[in-house]
Every structure is written in C-alpha cells, then in structure tokens.
C-alpha cells in the first residue's frame, strides 16, 4: 500500500454498557485499507469483527457504542458526522453485504425495486430510469434474464441469486469501500466459489476497496492482500496474506493454522490427531487484563498477565501483539 489509505481506523474502542458496567468489547484496534485493496478481518464468533465493521458505518446500537478512537474515511472522521451526513455516505460511498441475504433483503419488495431505490436515493434518478439501471446492475452480477428477474421477490430466488442481488445493491453506486460480513457463509461451496469470483472481478474492475470479514481462512487467503487477526476484541496480528500463512507470528494464529485439517496432508495408514488449542475463548465479562490469549497460550509467562503487549513491528503495515512472538 503506497497511496494514502482510503480508510484508517485508529485506536478504536467499542464498549458495551449495561447499568454502571462498561465492558471493553473491542479495544485499541487500528488498521487501514488502501484504495483498491482487499483487507481481511478474521476471528471467531464474539471476537468483535462484525461490530468493528458496523461501527465503520455508524450502525452500532445500544448497548454498544464507540468509546474512543477515530475512523477516517478519505481524511474525514466518520465518528464526528451527523445522521444525514452518514446517510449520504452509507450505500453510496461505503456499502455493506451481509451474511444472510434472506434477512437482509426486504421480503415485501421486488428485488428490482430494492436495487432501483439506490439510484433514486443517491443519484436522483426517476423510478423509470432507475428500473433500467437496475436491470443493468442485475446483468452485471450475472443473473440470467435480468429484465424478468427484477419482478421477483427475494423468496422466489435461490440463496446464491439472492446474494448476487445483495452485491448488485451494494455496488450500485460504485462505492469506494465495500464491507462484506461473511458474504458466503450461508452458501454451498460451489456457489461460494462463484460469488467470490464475481466479487473479486467487479471490485477489481472498479477499484473498490473491500473489508472482508470471515472466519474461513480459505476465503481470506483467496480474496485478500492483507489480513488482521482478531482475538477477544484485540487485533493481535496484521500481516500480508502470504506471510501470515507461511510464518504466523502470534501464538493464536500459529495454533489456528496448525489446527486446520489440510487437504492432501493425511498419510496412508497413519492419522495424526489435529493439534488443538486448549481451552475456550474467554467470555466478554471476564476478559483477562493482560494479553487476552494468555490463559490458552503455550508461550505465556508472568509478563503476559500484567499488561497488554504493544505492537511489535514486523514490516510495513505488519505487526504482532505478543511478548513472545516468533
């Protein structure tokens, strides 16, 4: 990444407030995404990756709120914007694809109307014009017979087709940044491959930056140039994708990669048990004060318990938060 980044997240804290209590769900997360770049955010459920994404477009709801930090999009702090400024940005310059297209689409409106709405709201088109553009948008995401399909309701389409509609809506206004939160988790593998290919092609053509959120390391390896690993609300490692898989630095990343069954690894007449990461993810109410991976870590020492390790720089846009990385 050379040009100034399109999106820069600096020291983002997200709190969960209940009564007097304040729980740090996401703590001190910083990353940036360059123009045309695909950045992956990986982590297990509850690690804070989805709420980090939601905070970028101001969609956090109580009890969640941004505590401190800055989110700079083209140099402007999104956290300082008011409702109408954000509304002009959302769907237009930054848009989002959700995991489950059936719940993200409006079941009572035809897909054509839902795509056309984007042109009416953000580009001032008339509904008549917008319908024509919607057909073109649907054709671009390779839905066959788009002029007929715009009259369909979401329930009349298959999961893969619905996700294509979501992509058409998200990319309708040629956004600068696309946030994709587990876009293919609900789909079959062969459909997943098609959808990922489509996303990659469209975003490459238009130079759209992508924030890809997934728990599937395969999807991340396929789609992203750089990747951040989140564990229990901390961004513990940020690396170029190839470096991450070849030389993981954080013990969590290391354990995660070692625990995956790898195609072509099993030998005839011998089956080694998979390497396990002992223990479970700590609950939000009981995060350790120091490194949050410390209770499960094989390299842990007393220092890990006392303070959160700062970032050790490994290269450009590449760091790990661990006292004993290697």
């Amino acid at each position: 990444m050379s040009a100034p980044p399109l999106l820069e997240v600096r020291n983002l804290h997200i709190d969960m407030r209940s009564g007097q209590e304040r729980l740090n769900v996401v703590e001190n997360v910083s990353f940036s995404i360059g123009a045309g770049e695909t950045f992956g955010l990986v982590g297990e459920s509850g690690c804070g990756k989805s709420i980090t994404a939601l905070s970028l477009i101001g969609l956090l709801n109580r009890p969640l709120a941004v505590g401190q930090g800055e989110i700079l999009f083209k140099g402007q702090n999104l956290l300082k914007m008011n409702g109408s400024e954000l509304r002009r940005l959302r769907g237009n310059r930054i848009s989002m694809i959700f995991q489950e297209p059936m719940t993200a689409l409006n079941p009572l409106a035809t897909v054509g109307r839902q795509i056309a709405e984007m042109f009416v709201l953000h580009q001032g088109s008339t509904w008549h014009e917008a319908e024509r553009k919607a057909i073109a948008a649907l054709a671009q995401v390779q839905v066959p017979a788009p002029d007929k399909r715009i009259k369909n309701y979401p329930h009349q389409m298959s999961g893969g087709m619905r996700q294509r509609v979501m992509i058409a809506i998200a990319l309708a206004c040629h956004p600068d940044l696309l946030i994709a939160d587990e876009p293919t988790t609900a789909l079959d593998v062969t459909v997943q491959a098609e959808i990922l290919k489509l996303m990659q092609e469209l975003c490459d053509q238009r130079g759209t930056s992508v924030l890809m959120i997934s728990h599937d390391l395969g999807v991340i390896a396929k789609m992203c140039q750089r990747v951040g690993i989140m564990y229990a609300g901390h961004l513990v490692e940020e690396r170029a994708v190839a470096d991450l898989f070849r030389r993981p630095a954080h013990p969590y990343t290391h354990g995660l990669l070692a625990s995956l069954p790898v195609l072509g690894q099993r030998k005839l007449n011998e089956r080694k048990p998979l390497q396990e990461i002992e223990g479970i993810v700590p609950s939000i109410a009981a995060f350790p004060t120091g490194c949050r991976f410390e209770p499960r870590c094989t390299r842990a020492s007393p220092i890990c318990r006392d303070a959160v390790p700062g970032p050790s720089v490994l290269g450009d846009y590449s760091f790990v938060r661990c006292y004993h990385h290697g």
Binding site: A221, F245, V262, I277, V281
Partner: protein, 322 residues
Amino acid sequence: MASQTQPLLQIENLSVCFPVSAGLFRRSHQAVRAINNLSLSLHKNQCLSIVGESGCGKSTLALTILGLQHPTHGSISFDGKPITGAAQPGRMQRARMAQMVFQDPYASLNPRQTIHAALAGPLRLHGLRNKGEVEDRIATTLKMVGLKPEQAKRYPHEFSGGQRQRIGIARALILDPKVIVLDEPVSALDVSIRAQIINLLLDLKERLDLSYIMISHDLSVVEHMSDRVAVMYFGQIVEEGPWQSIFANPVHPYTRRLLAAIPDPFTIIRQEDITRKDMQPPPLSGFSYYPEEIGTHDVYQSPPPTEFLTVGDDHKVRFIAR
C-alpha cells in the same frame, strides 16, 4: 478393505419420494425424487462420509437411516436384519442401533432441560430404572466426551459452543448405539474448537468401536476423518470409493468441481491449481459421465438408467451408456 465381511449397515436400491400437492383438492400429481435408487454399505468401525450440496438428498438419507423417514422403495438392513418394510423393528430398538449428532448444538438441545435430564430421559425410557446405574452411566458418558460429571446440573446456555457439541455427542452415545450419523458435526463451531471435536470423534470411534456416517461439505474435514467417501448429486451417488482414491484421483466431473471449489488456504498460498481441466480423465470408452452438465436436472423426473462402474480399487463412478 473390509468388504469381505458382512457390512454393518446395508442400503439397497433406496428411493425416497415426496409428493407435491397442487391444484383443486390438493391432489398430488408429481413427486420430488429426493433419493433415487441409492445403494451404500457401511462396515464396522468405518467412517463413511457423504458429501454433496444442499438439496442433494443427504439429510433425507440420514433421516431414513434413523427411521424418521420411510423409504418409498428399497431396503436398509442392520447387521444382516432388515430394518425397513414389514419386518422393521420398533422405535425403541432402532434408537439403540443408530443415533445422530446434529450440526447446530445450540438448536438441538432443549434449553429448559438440564444436561442430566437430557441424558437420563432415554436411559429411563429404555428400562434402566436403578438410580445408581443411571447416574453411573451419565457420569461415564460425560467423562468420555471430556466434560465433568458435576456439569450435568447445568442448562445448555451455560456452555460454550464446543462444550455443547460435546453434550450433543454424549446424548448420541448414551444408549450405546453402533452407528452414529454425524450431520455437519463441526461446521457450526469456531475454528479453534473444531480440532478438539474432530479429535474427540476419532478417538471415540476407536475406543467404542463405533461406525460413523458423516454428512459434510467441508472436504478437508472429510479427508481427515473418513475411510470411505460417497459423493451425492441429486439423490444419487455419482462417485464412491476409499478416501485416498477419491482425493488423489477424483474422476467424476462433479467430484472435481466440489474439490476445486473449496478454498484451502495452503493450496491458495502455494498457488497450486487443482482445477486444471487437462487432468480430467476421459470417461470409459462407450460411456459418458452422468450428469454431463451439472445443474440441468429435473427433480420430478426419474433419472435415466445409469451404470455404476469400477474405475480403480473399490472406486466406482456413475456413467451413462452412449
């Protein structure tokens, strides 16, 4: 391998059709053919994996094996005795033959029942009245799946995802069945927990001499766990064989398509291309692959007659005569 001995579970020419009602008087004119003339056998202490996409009939097959769905044609026998048709045993007996571990441990446990109640219920139903024996059995089963007997007093919401799947496994094991049907056993779990559950399942298989039928679409898990693999496409097996042969030498275009679709991080990083078209072996002479074109399938029509031909050591592929 063990094909000389009698299989533990034998499925012969199984078909399951669901009538589709439409029109005035809701008469059924058509039937969806969920399973078409499927034959499979499971040997003792083996893990047979069934892979395929949603809608291919793999869950219907699982339900039919468990006796929750009646076959339209064909038969299933267990240990040489038929368990479908006129001679079929009652529900109680079937429960001791096969049990199921479900995909989503959040959804498959009763939230208002303690773990103890969930495990004690089946034991009492099956005639174990002695309280001490029930407690013993629950304690040993929980220990077997890596939980503490004290945790039995708790409710499902008090456990993490991985622990809940352990409870799901304990629930399946409590009646000491011979066959366990695993329906996507790790796909709902977090990545760092999957290895624990996979290791546990493989360990239990050896210790208790269990046989597994695993339904999955995660082919790296399938490769790690299976002895045999069957690839299912629209109610039929299109390719079946020992795991090493399916993974090293996939023949059917659909199997190759499935394999090519998995994003395996290490293959991607090494930039290996497993989809190379020139590796596609030509069909046997006089035959073509069935189906030739994937996705052109009518679920209401019975498929044309095809043949299941051997292409290698115990490795079979479905062809259609040209």
